[in-house]
Amino acid sequence: ALLLGCGSPPLTNADGLLVLTDETPTGLDYDGPSAAIPQSQTGIVNLMEPLIDYAPGAVNDSGVRIPDFTRFEGRLAERWDFDAARGVLRLHLRRDAVSCAGNPLTAADVVYTFARAKSVSGAAPIGWFLANAGGVADFDGDVFTDPAARTLGDEVRAIDRHTVEIRQGQPNPLLLPVLTTFGLLIFDSVEMRARATEDDPWSHDYANNAAPPSFGPYCVERWVRSSELVLRANPHYYRGAAPIARIVIKRVPQSANRYMIMRMRQAHVAERLTPREVAAIEDVDGLAVRSVQGNESLFLHMNFATPPFDDPLVRRAIAAAIPTRQIIRNGYFGAAVPWTGVAPSSYPGAASGAVTTDDPARAAALLAQAGYPGGRGLERYPDAFRLAYVAEREAVLGPIAASLQTALRRLGVPATLDPIPSAQFGDRQLVKKDLPFALNDQEKPVVVDAGYAAQLFFVSASAGGVNNMVNYANPALDALWARARGETDRVRRTALIQDIQRLASADVAWAPIVEYRTHWVGDAQVQGWSWRPDNALRFYDLRFAP
């Protein structure tokens, strides 16, 4: 009777938008310990505002607007002009932006933001890293060794109350792109200073655990870690208050439960359903699947530092054994396309490579050629063939890993599966770089540029390949990047970057498998979907269809 009394209350749009996700933000400071976690970024990007952003582009067939990566438009900066000679970007800030705390935007806020980034006082120096990637002057490695180098000089300075200049060290075409990313969003310096304390001058505690004060479309109304995040529209938002005044992001760990709740029409949006569940939603009326061929991909990484993967023949053999078709059919239910490149094919400058998969015969031949006929001899490397993947993604990656394992076993490769917690996976991939053999579907370069991607993953660590998880080192490639980095001519740069990619895939630095579609399942009434490279929904764009 009790249950009958208050079972499923009807969902009304009046209350706002209910979003189901597998994990609510663990921290909201982009220099904090958990900024790398995608769900944390969802919180950050909806609460904070960038200086500039990509201009909206076309709407794809499933109703999702894709940015036009060739054009930028103003956000907190309404205009900007770039003095190529001096490498100085002058930003004219808008006068009508007001933060959640009610403070108007000033140049001081921008200066504060960069100063904070350069202080590398946070758990993870994302801001510094992106500024560095964008070539901002004096944002270099010294900050870690030399405390003096952590204070902001004149590379970022206020000209007047609403004008700032950012100076580049050397030419670098990535400056505008990095300004769009979640790692350089602008803080409300007044509020931040108000929250500063003795041992926390940059207010990391407040930003990370309460809310990052900024000029974004939403403000934090309530946040219970690992349970829910409730956003309320920022009434002063300079683009006009958000159409949907309230966003409730609920944590529902099991994707099956998210699926069930959507089916029962008890929520508006569900993130990160398994491909199978998405496929099953397709034909439920009242619900719509929104998807985009964005920048998410699945690839197999084999660590050059771990024999036998130092042998290109072995790498090629393993790649050839990958059952890509089966993976697309049984793992992604068709919602993915084969991937041959090493950078998201949607990114400017992306090139397709020539790694062949789905060819067991060739794989066997290559193995034999490498001296392991029928896999004999490989049993000497049991640890090398422990196929790691993020345990939390078991629902999606489990089946894929299983069919890959089966395929390899058929070749005589002693593959075993090793799902490890994402935290640990992160440690080993990013820092220790000691994962020998892993399935990875988490890498989506946040700066929309094949070059940036190439640098991130394939340039040798010493030369700035911070996420070179396979310890791939190729002097030729490094040289190419050194040239491309400073190259300002679009065409020539693109040529260089495509060479980089060809090198990487020729060496099978990665064995790319598929690019899979990024999905949201939404109530049909929810309109205005848009995609960004960080794959976090922009709630400001959403509205309920009348």
């Binding site: 009790l2 249950l3 009958l4 009394g5 208050c6 079972g7 499923s8 209350p9 209350d15 209910l18 663990t26 921290g27 400071d29 904090g32 310990p33 958990s34 590398v120 758990a123 993870a124 120096p125 994302i126 510094w128 560095n132 490695g141 870690f144 060794t145 990391h204 505690d205 990370n208 655990n209 219970v224 870690r225 690992s226 349970s227 829910e228 309230r246 609920k250 944590r251 529902v252 760990p253 099991q254 099956a256 439960n257 069930m260 709740i261 089916r263 029962m264 929520a267 345990a391 917690p421 994402s422 935290a423 640990q424 992160g426 440690d427 990013l430 820092v431 220790k432 911070v466 996420n467």
Partner: protein, 340 residues
């Protein structure tokens, strides 16, 4: 004399906690984790790495770290009730636990309460005619109820009562998503809603608690019924119950006498189950997205969040010891022989 019992138990408990604290601290540090690595994350230069180790105090010798953890170091520590900061969220562990603990306590308390309420009539039924049909049925049920992982029940109940029948609210936590949670006073959703005088919210909270609590109740009722049945059977065979009959007391009175003497051992079991469920409810919590202590523990372990793990283990141990203390005291109240 109950006071003496309580004091003695508190003393012992304190010593156990001390031992636990040390054990937990050092065992955890054997974990193959590199927390500093996570802190520096992307773009880690060796220097950043070193810096992170320093922030985490990992550069100090282990014993120094232990001293800090206990609070004998510069910073506040265990003895000040400070459990340090989570390495995942950067939030104070004590605060995070304070938020999660009531959720689990509420769940487990309701689950145990339901189980006990169900167990008594059933056990009585079986004890009335030992060896009878009812008795056998109860025995079988008692053995069966505990024979599945609780998440099987949880998922089953959700599937039936939410997905199929639409009777129960979705597994969306403790309140309907848009309901305004009350000012946290006790942290118990049901109580807080009442304190706030919001009865619709109260019934909402109850409805959300119903399935998870039922899940625990089903699983726990097994052992409780079994224990109650056994000790009730023993009591009904005992001389003093026979003597009560012989002196012409009514059947109800006799049952009451028997029940009372069956209560003491059952109480002990309930205490143990309660303690076990504090950590064991995690399976149910995660199915119903309650975000309780168990889920917090799982998250912390998977992320090798040392301070959080220490905090959780110590908290749960402390609470269980407290619960044991309470049940023992209750036992002593019922049975004068225990107290002495």
């Amino acid at each position: 004399m109950i006071a003496r019992l309580v004091l003695r138990r508190i003393a012992i408990g304190a010593m156990q906690m001390a031992a636990l604290a040390a054990l937990v601290f050092f065992v955890i540090r054997l974990m193959p984790a590199d927390p500093a690595a996570r802190f520096v994350g992307l773009g880690a230069s060796p220097e950043a790495y070193a810096a992170a180790r320093a922030t985490l105090g990992l550069d100090k010798p282990l014993l120094a770290q232990f001293a800090d953890f206990l609070g004998f170091g510069a910073a506040r520590g265990l003895i000040d009730g400070d459990l340090g900061r989570s390495w995942v969220s950067g939030e104070s562990v004590a605060r995070e636990i304070a938020a999660a603990l009531p959720i689990t306590l509420e769940l487990v308390a309701c689950g145990v309460a339901l189980a006990v309420l169900a167990a008594f009539p059933i056990a009585l039924l079986s004890a009335r005619r030992p060896g009878g049909g009812a008795d056998r049925a109860v025995l079988i049920y008692g053995l069966f109820a505990g024979s599945q992982p609780e998440f099987v029940w949880a998922l089953g109940l959700v599937f039936v009562f939410f997905a199929q029948l639409g009777l129960a609210p979705g597994p969306l936590g403790r309140l309907s998503p848009f309901a305004e949670p009350p000012e946290p006073v006790t942290g118990f959703m049901t109580i807080d809603t009442l304190l706030a005088g919001r009865f619709e919210a109260f019934s909402d909270a109850v409805a959300h608690l119903a399935l998870p609590a039922a899940t625990l109740a089903i699983v726990l009722s097994g052992p409780i019924i079994k224990m109650l049945r056994d000790s009730l059977g023993r009591a009904l065979k005992s001389d003093h119950v026979l003597f009560a009959r012989a002196s012409g007391l009514s059947e109800n009175r006799v049952s009451a006498i028997a029940l009372k003497s069956a209560l003491a051992p059952t109480l002990a079991l309930i205490g143990i189950l309660f303690g076990f469920m504090l950590g064991g409810a995690v399976l149910v919590e995660s199915v119903f997205a309650l975000g309780g202590l168990g889920q917090y523990a799982v998250r912390s372990v998977l992320a090798f969040d040392y301070p959080a793990i220490q905090g959780v283990v110590l908290t749960i141990a402390a609470v269980s010891l407290l619960v044991y203390l309470i049940t023992d005291a209750a036992q002593a109240l019922i049975d004068p022989r225990v107290a002495t």
